[in-house]
Symmetry: C2
Subunit: 497 residues, 2 copies
């Protein structure tokens, strides 16, 4: 290690932190746009966002950063420093490989695609959307080829969202879900059991809001470092100092606002568990989408849809909503399998993954050039029938339902299921360490679980790659065993299988 | 004009717009910090703000911009382009003259000064604050000398806030206010008239909020391009697409929330009146503080404290607050002269300016080195006695009351009075053009006045220098005549002088 290495590393880290601060400023602008901004503000906000994106891209790709990385390559660094360099190098190299012109073309194409998609969905008219989708597929393929012309372009795109598990792992996991969940879903469809529906009815928004705030209090949300607001689509944004949740309310769907709030709580606790002192560096930043989604799904499903939680929480529900139901009925209601639902975001914890598998298979084949855009509606519907036993009446309820492709996003969908699978693995590891979680939940005690997740997942930031983090936290390689065992046991009980 | 001038100008303008977008992004971060951010967010927000400031400073001072400006110097431009170049050149040259190191020292010194000032004010202890103030005075003198060592440093500082009127004009106007208002204030103190106080009492915050929202509706606030929120200190932030007002509520002071909301409405209408198509350029940006303050004072005082307004608005007040009073009594109450009040922000429309004059005289002498920091309390109290006939009981109620100097701000205070003076001149010019404003206000019609201000002030952005804008809008040079006539007539009536 040369004498001036500490200086170089410090200068490098300064640069990295500037990058991160600009990204977080951009994140606030987005949060504001979706939560606070008056409608007329859009033209100015677009320009502000674009200016920050340009500055961020310039900082990420500039020669200074390349020189720091080159210098640091030949120096001995401690493991944390090595992790920082690894993460920044990957981002820097990917960004430098993509021509500015291509980024602009993708940005324009997605802007233009949005109203076309909205209209096509409203009109149930895939024909007018098809050329737009084709252009986006072509552009993303070009993007992947710019980054690495020698690899499967879909694998390259997937790594944008999950850089460290590899597409082969994703295929293995999603393949197992498909093979083992389809028979389970079939069995449920054949079951005589119907679940009670005590939450059918109308519940005023202000009562629902009081309820979700009570839920956040109960789970231990840190209001000194967070907010809850409403937006058209629930999301979480922010940092370890300031993590903001949004939810949305439908008078007829009180369970939706509750479960989406608990889901976002999981994302927020991940952000809030990142180490303060590493803010602005990869060690203070979340480990990508699989791990992020594992946190939201763990809280939403393993806690929020557990029998123990409803035994604990039903009195609070009754305090806020005009409802009377046993904890058992509530538990059954929140876990009802919607076997006639074609919409992903309305799916239950089980059928949800078939929605993901079919999207994954279709987008992978689209990017590979093995599937023509014109074939998407038919393939979509065939797979829906094969995996879920239902055929959407319209493309609006089929392949036009999600915004992801219109946003130019291919390779994102798998992380939803990969996160659920990881949630089950982490839950079992936590339980092995801290004892029966159900008992704690029944007593309204969430602190030990929260602490275990912070110590074993959150506080590491990006120090470990995803696979290494999973091994570190759970003592075993990433596996779908825990998830499959969990859902099999749960739904066998619920549906007398 | 060389063949490539349009290209150079376009590239120059792109650069200028990037600068402006980054500044506006920073503005949103500040708004959020004061209105929405959870308390724990401070450390991250400081870093984000500082990163944006650095990027902004780099863009403002970089060689590219200097080269554009040099090239454009030799080319023929239309008047609008000339105005853009004039404004950018001034900012660029000022920023380049100030060493980065000095900016950082000022930033550190003001950060450190804040808690010292807060504690000193709480303890009524000027002694501990004195060395802090002395350092800030020295740093700002150094700052002024960096910009122009050959000129009066206070004049250089004043131009930070009002670049185009000149300190001599400020001195002339403030001198006239002092000479002509002191006798008027004396007469009022001797008057037998006491004003009614129908607003004494307690008014719930939600009722006050409904009232100020009704006032904004009534005045024509564009909610599609704006918001109203609460913050510790009222302010306005934003652009022509998104102008956000804040106010604050005190249960015992319903007139304060109302008048501060109308004041901020004036600032917001200025922002909203700037041309959309010039967003991001000086032609789409407000003409500094004198003009900005003229807009807030015009609406707050000439409209919001007029007899006509209270004749129109009193029924709305009665709809929202538990109060019954004649319009005449309300008008008298909102114009009561507080002849025993030592606090600037609580002062009425008349005595307010003596608070400004004394601050101006003190800070000018401090920066000139003609007044020692240790002498400030005594000089402050002597001037209070001379101008307002009162002597503060404590320094907390005297020279420690304002945050401006602690923020390192010297030369800002005069713009408050300069804006009031301009408001009166603009009001008379508007009335000459559109007819009796009182009649329109009595009928609840604000559109013609709003339109006149937009056409004659707002839409010009920074196209004209302040003095030229005043001439263009009013047909005469900047003068205190209108203001002095206005207050003399108003207070002669109110106090039977």
């Amino acid at each position: 290690m040369s004498a001036d290495t500490p200086d170089v590393y410090d200068e490098f880290l300064d640069h990295v932190q500037q990058l991160s601060y600009v990204a977080d400023a951009g994140g606030l602008l987005q949060w504001d746009q979706q939560v606070m901004m008056p409608e007329g503000g859009t033209p100015a906000r677009s320009k502000q966002q674009s200016a920050l994106s340009t500055l961020h891209h310039d900082l990420l790709t500039d020669d200074d950063l390349g020189e720091y990385l080159a210098t640091l390559e030949d120096t001995s660094l401690d493991p944390e420093q090595q992790a920082v360099v690894r993460e920044v190098r990957r981002e820097h190299e990917r960004a430098r490989k993509v021509p500015r012109d291509l980024i602009e073309r993708i940005s324009e194409a997605t802007s233009e695609a949005l109203p076309v998609w909205e209209q096509a969905r409203a009109d149930d008219d895939f024909e007018t959307y098809a050329p737009v989708l084709e252009e986006l597929v072509d552009l993303r393929r070009e993007y992947a080829e710019a980054i690495d012309p020698d690899r499967d372009p879909y694998a390259v795109l997937f790594e944008e969202f999950e850089p460290h598990l590899g597409l082969d792992t994703a295929e293995r996991i999603l393949g197992r879900l498909r093979d083992e969940l389809v028979p389970l879903i079939d069995e449920i469809a054949d079951s005589e059991v119907t679940q009670p529906r005590p939450f059918d009815g109308t519940y005023p928004v202000d009562e629902q809001e009081a309820l979700v705030r009570a839920a956040l209090d109960d789970l231990g949300f840190d209001w000194d470092r967070g907010r809850l607001d409403t937006s058209a689509h629930p999301f979480t944004s922010g940092t370890q100092f300031d993590a903001r949740i949004t939810t949305r309310f439908d008078e007829e769907k009180p369970l939706d606002s509750l479960s989406s709030t608990i889901h976002e709580f999981g994302h927020a606790t991940y952000a809030l568990g990142l180490p303060d002192e590493q803010y602005g560096t990869p060690l203070g930043d979340a480990r990508d989408l699989t791990v992020h989604e594992s946190q939201s799904r763990l809280w939403e499903n393993h806690i929020g849809r557990s029998q123990a939680f409803w035994e604990h929480f039903m009195p609070t529900v009754e305090d806020h909503l005009s409802i009377e139901a046993s904890a058992e009925d509530a538990y059954r209601a929140v876990n009802r399998v919607y076997d006639d639902n074609p919409i992903r975001v309305e799916a239950d914890e089980l059928t949800y993954h078939m929605h993901i598998v079919l999207r994954f298979e279709i987008e992978r084949d689209l990017i590979a050039g093995d599937l023509d855009v014109s074939e998407v509606p038919a393939v979509w519907n065939d797979k829906m029938e094969e995996y879920l036993g239902i055929r959407p009446d319209t493309d609006a309820e089929g392949c036009l339902q999600d915004i992801h492709w219109t946003n130019g996003t291919f390779g994102y969908f798998p992380t939803y299921s990969l996160g659920s699978v990881l949630a089950a693995q982490l839950y079992d590891a936590a339980e092995a360490a801290i004892g029966p979680i159900d008992d704690a939940v029944r007593a309204g005690e969430f602190e030990d679980l929260h602490e275990w997740l912070t110590q074993n997942v959150h506080r590491h930031g990006k120090r470990y790659t995803t696979d290494a983090l999973i091994e570190e936290a759970t003592g075993q390689a990433y596996t779908a065993d825990h998830f499959l065992e969990y859902v099999t046991e749960k739904y066998t009980g619920l549906y007398d299988l």
